[in-house]
Amino acid sequence: MNKILQTDGGYSDGHGLPPMSSVKRWLVTTNHKDIGILYIITSLFFLVMGGVLALLIRLQLWLPRAPGEGLLSPFAYNQSVTAHGLIMVFWFLSPFAFGLANYIVPLQIGAKDLAFPRLNALSYWLYLISGILLGISFFQGGTFNGGWTVYAPLNLPTFTPQVGATSAVLALFIFSVAITSGSVNFLTTIHRMRAKGMTLFNMPLFTWTILLTVWMMLFAFAALLAALMILSADRILGTTYFSSTGTQGSLLWTHLFWFFGHPEVYIVFFPALGAMAEIFQTFTGKRIVGRKWFIAALVLVTVQSFGVWMHHMFLTGINLEVKTLFMITTIGISLPFDLMVFSLIYTLIKGRIQFTTPFLFAFGGLILFIIGGITGVFLGAVVLDYEFRGTYWVVAHFHYVMVGGVTGLVAGIYYWFPKITGRMYDEFLGKVSFVLYFIGFNLLYFPLFIAWETPRRVFTYAPSLIPWHQMATIGGFILASSFAVMLYNFYVSISRGEESGPCPWKYASTLEWSLPSPPPLENWEGTPTYENGKLEFLPDNIKTDGGEPTHER
């Protein structure tokens, strides 16, 4: 019997929750840990879905193809690149991070649950049905096929008449609703429900990055929501926002989309950064260097992220003055990341570094992010950006950054696996998965820098580039095999892994490691507090005697 399925046995009071082995439990649960698990499993499913699409794309690119050649028709290819982008960015990356955040953040700050548990469940179910709707859209005459940026006016029924294209837009719409309600929930929780002594500054870095992520989500997704409402109205009701060429409908969409789109990059990357910071501290046995500056840099990026969107539009009808302004803000936002990278690197000094699987992934993720960052500076120089626009340089760059972020989150899932399941993963298989991951990743994306002159989203390219594209395709399959090893590792370890105990890591310092693994339904008996400078658990009755009003009016 799985350890994870037995946890209810020890708790007489399930508060109306059926045991974990029952399906009903998972339909009715509002507990943050259950929902965290649901998020993680669902997002991994979408990872597989987006990954299969990516492999189809890579197979199509094995050779430059004439029309009708290869696995995919031009229409199917466009659907694949579009759905791959949408699924990975929206339905995999953020929800994967949200799953970890759901499980870990309340434990790290000393809250029993999120502020609005039912709203949390609603966010999850809306996320799931949005993904199901996207799946259904493939069977409604084909899903949306105009790229993940959904540029106007290709996004209108005149050019993409498929019913499935409308479904994909609606799926994205309801996904944004789910994200917005989730952001409200997390913001209220993190701002209101911290244990005594857990001031904002004292919060663990993972919680910090989640806090800033949800702040960005709150505003960025509201802009996307507006864009998608207008787009849905254009598609369903026939309004003419994006089809009016006289009022620059095409430019309007790019503004709305990128105002959301650039913060989205940090929304995706921040949780990974937070997980990497925690893992660096735990496995080097060193507290992070310049913690205060690290946090300041995070806050700075969060604020600045709303002022850089036009650097996606250097070729899209903006004048020189505006280009100059956005070139400056773009450089401005890259500098705090330099600081964070240095901070992580200096944390290694005088450490006692344990090369466990989570640390390897975090360390590898940092290397990949550095490469992604350096190649990003190329794009910050507008003259170079002009020529890189729409090429594989951009593709390779953002995969280094975004999938570099995935690397950090994979590190996180290995790191917290013992906490969530109560059992250790297999260290050998973990290391195998890292080696496959790192080799596969670089074999997949590095050749794309060399073959950068390939235009994006086409499957015809200069024959001289064939070796590089074939290398990338092989790398794609190696990367996929790494995920297969990881999932197999988890599958086996959930039932047969060694018992981990409350804290399997020598230098872990955050609150969640002081609890049993997995933590009980309501996380702890008594009340955690940091009032005296370190973690203590006060018995329950002290809380009521202590005069803290539980119900003020």
Partner: protein, 235 residues
Amino acid sequence: MLGFSFSFLLAGSNVLGIFPTGSRSFIFDRIFLVFLILGTIVGVIVISYMLILAYRYRENSATKKDDVDRPKLGELPPRTDDGSKLLKSLLLSAVVVIALVVWTYGSLLYVETQPAQIDGALTIEVEAYQFGFLFTYPDGYQSNGVLRAPVDRVTVLKITSRDVLHNFGSQDLRIKADAAPGMISETWFLAESTGTYDSACYELCGAGHSYMKANIIILENSEFEQWNKTKNNGS
């Protein structure tokens, strides 16, 4: 107003030829090369430094004495930490990045302002459509899928779209500009040798995107003039 001051700045500051000017290919190749060399150096240094640190401070390394205060479960992060090393590193990286980008800014001003002002430049209108390009010459002559232009002379392109968002680009000549319906974007190029170059659409525009291509044929000046005179008779 601002544009004026920019060009003024430009005229005054490039006396020594600090930043590249000339054809787009030359500017791009020069700047790209410098970025590539510096980027590689920085990347190699930083990543090697990381690897060296990771090896040196591995847990079972020879240095057994441990005088560092390690994190403990349930502690709060200490308030005292020294960020001076961090800020120095930041300053260093900021200087490198800002210097690089400021250096390229001169070329940007050149690309944006200078060649468009050249009198007598050939201006060709480009209309993108699903799935091809239509080129219109000043005298109204239209050509589908083939653009002819003279060598060593600036050619200005005014680009728009008939239907969805496209992007007209040529890697060989380093041309790229969005083609948006209802808008005109302007760019220019200067070919340094004759021949036939590829151009393609660089923005996903529908099922035929992969095959949306056009040829750019660069002719000797005399050849071009010859063709220019007779082009309306042929069709």
